[in-house]
Symmetry: C2
Subunit: 118 residues, 2 copies
Amino acid sequence: MKKKSVINDTPVCQVRMQAISDTMSILSGKWKFHILGTLIEGNKLGFMDLLREIDGIGTKMLSKELQDLEMNQLISRKVMDTKPITVEYSITKYGATLEPLINELASWGINYRQSVHG
Amino acid sequence: MKKKSVINDTPVCQVRMQAISDTMSILSGKWKFHILGTLIEGNKLGFMDLLREIDGIGTKMLSKELQDLEMNQLISRKVMDTKPITVEYSITKYGATLEPLINELASWGINYRQSVHG
DNA sequence: GAAAGCACTTTCCTTGAGGAAACTACGTAA
DNA sequence: TTACGTAGTTTCCTCAAGGAAAGTGCTTTC
């Protein structure tokens, strides 16, 4: 019989572990943080704006990641009634709650770089 | 000629974006946060302890992820002079600086779950 | 001397993430 | 009428992440 875990076998740990998996699954992939970060900085942006802002991303991935983020209510998509139709992507109120997390991620990375090189 | 980005074209944004990529690259994969979280909770743990604590992980991935984390100075590996040799994995001082990030990740996930269901 | 525990490594395999390029569709400006 | 800008979708391809299972080497216990 397999031995049971000790540390992670408390309800609080299970919930925490599950929560981390949830968050990482919602924010999975190479581009989500970049898109969210750009939309937090830039307020309202079109598809082509995002394509230009986010260095290296292609149309397929941008389109797919935007759909994912919209599905999870982190960003909103609004089709504007302009001559060549334009789309406005913006961060939602809920998406904005990720700002502390993104800041933490960024500042940890900056410190890491300094401690490795400096 | 390709238009330039506007929002992300400031040095501070470039640095932030790079920092986020750095952090995510160090903490990439399915298991790093679970391993780090468990070691923060559990202090000193052996290979088999971790295998039991982290639900679903296999020996190959555990071994590989532990090597990654050790290489990046986030955990330390100490071979003990016991009869069947045992190994003590523990979080380093530097690895412990990830605690706020992990907490933020966990609490965001918990809030997300509540706001979706509750 | 057989089994079981520790700590891994190796091999083989599948799936999915992600990139490149082409294509759709509509409207405007030159 | 040709080109450009908007906003994507579709197809094809590759590579790396990750899982399963078996093997390695050592030691202690039954």
